[in-house]
Symmetry: C2
Subunit: 340 residues, 2 copies
């Protein structure tokens, strides 16, 4: 699947890990893998030693690395890593004015989006670790403790289950749940709180990302109703997954159910995002994205309803596309768990 | 000093902290402060609430944030943050084809390079914390312990002295010292090792970065000689600091002394880099950099000699430019400390 014959400019980050396994820092000193030339341009300070199949060209402080790269560009156009620095891109555009530079996500959306079996297995293992974390957090006491405290327990559990990196541990309680990207704070959880849990990171280099909504004590009728709408939307979106369906169709299905129930204005984000060496990458399940699903793609399905000043609900699984439909990598129960 | 009337496009990172204090994540969802319009474009999910003096414009998943920004651009050219993502820049170049986008470091090298008195005080406090860390590490046992272990102690000490973030803790012992950016490993320190220590991070948002070279037991005559050359070069470079002198001149002075001593080929990096809200930023003390020094600039002076397969030496202070010369923010002794 690795597009070694394509015209790509790869900078430190997930693309470089994908092609070389290298994880140098992204800095003001240019590091760039040029494909299909198979030349890795590096600052001399970061020389990785010999690499099979690649020519390593080192530059020294005071040299012009952009002129060096420009001389190595043989193709009329290259797609450059999404997170490449603007300062590097602008200098390259000046050094190679006849070369066209395009956006990786815009022009090579499938570069890392279709996972190999080995990658799906790694994502499944990361998901299993996140699921084990969720199962264990259910037996923790929520009442009387702060969001920060519960988040710290999520972080500890993810690491205990093999994550080398924890990227986010959202604990959004009561009215905080209405903010999908709530930053955890000192709010003390109390009887009657809906609590959105959304956590993940990297295990063996591959991402986890799951959300469940729990309730401190028994929910009200309205809370249960809103919860059930999200659960139905998540299930319907999952069932819509199969090869050839456009990404935006999955979003449309989830959104349709929430709109039909009268909560459309409160589902304020896209339905999902790809996951792999990062926790956000193509494909994006969003209005306007016509990319058809392909077996091996892995992404989140995470509809939600956010009622300002009151509460929020989100349910999120990582799903992989199979030949005939979708398979959930997160498999914990979708019901509204009651915590103490 | 804040260039609110300049034409700038600011993305998450140190530039955005500088202008707004905000620290949103850098993601595939565009966040951008447009100056001089004073409009902050944000994903609705990351809405920071009202901000005095700024208009906040939120966009939703499925909207085109680049078309939105393009409509807000009134100037013929904008400098964009160095670390802005290439995917965002390319999409903006397409959405606003008549606007010219320039590199912040290339066209606005002074944006954050000249520090206010308050900023110098914060950098001095960060340097003092790093100095206290160095003083304490000297009484730690080096012999028989791994680089990783010593690095962990440096990290703990930096945090004890008020760092909220530790960015690097290089412990490069014996032959590892010949790699300026050595990644710490399991090498056990032993009698006769030169050891380069280089550590820093952020304290109250501002960077620290200092290097000292120590020796396990008594050094050989040659080791002491190489050490003294680096020490002399560092001192001479420091004494060359005064307003109006070009950045490259500081590099030339340090390099000249090392070259005259016959070690020029072993000083394999620039002499220094600016420091502030990040640990690497303009001005860069490097061959070709003609920017004159300005009072308030703060940067490292860190010459070194690296002998492949044998050992390395580096001495690094953060220095601020005064009206009449330079002032060191790191003030620990420059001598070759003997550790046990």
């Amino acid at each position: 699947m690795k597009a070694l014959d394509d015209a790509l400019l790869i900078t430190p980050g997930p693309d470089l890990v994908y092609f070389t396994g290298l994880r140098p820092p992204m800095t003001e000193r240019l590091t760039m893998l040029i494909l299909p030339a198979r030349v890795l341009v590096v600052p001399a300070l970061e020389h990785p030693g010999d690499l099979p199949g690649l020519e390593v060209v080192a530059w020294h402080d005071g040299d012009d690395p952009y002129a060096l790269v420009a001389e190595l560009l043989r193709e009329p156009a290259y797609a450059i890593s999404d997170s490449a620095w603007a300062m590097h891109l602008i200098a390259l555009q000046q050094a190679a004015p006849h070369v066209r530079f395009t956006s990786m996500t815009a022009t090579r959306p499938l570069l890392r989006a279709v996972k190999s079996e080995a990658e799906v297995a790694l994502l499944a293992a990361a998901a299993a670790a996140a699921d084990a974390t969720y199962e264990q957090i259910l037996s923790v006491r929520f009442r009387g403790r702060t969001e920060v405290r519960i988040a710290a327990e999520l972080s500890d559990l993810l690491q205990q289950h093999g994550h080398e990196q924890v990227d986010f541990t959202i604990v959004a309680s009561g009215p905080n749940g209405a903010d999908p990207h709530h930053h955890i704070g000192d709010r003390v959880l109390t009887e009657g709180d809906m609590v959105v849990l959304d956590f993940g990171g990297l295990k063996d280099g591959y991402g986890s990302d799951t959300s469940r909504t729990v309730h401190v004590g028994q929910p009200s009728e309205e809370e249960q109703q809103v919860f059930d709408i999200v659960r139905t939307a998540q299930q319907a979106a999952f069932e819509a997954v199969r090869p050839g369906v456009a990404c935006q169709e999955i979003d449309r299905v989830a959104r349709g159910i929430i709109e039909d129930a009268g909560y459309g204005q409160f589902f304020i984000h896209r339905t999902g995002h790809g996951i792999g060496l990062t926790t956000h990458e193509p494909p994006y399940l969003v209005r306007g994205e016509q990319q058809p699903l392909v077996p091996g793609m892995c992404f989140s399905i995470e509809p939600g309803i956010y009622l300002p000043g009151r509460f929020g609900v989100r349910i999120e699984d990582i799903v992989t596309v199979t030949e005939t439909g979708g398979r959930r990598l997160n498999t914990t129960d979708h019901g509204l768990a009651i915590v103490s």
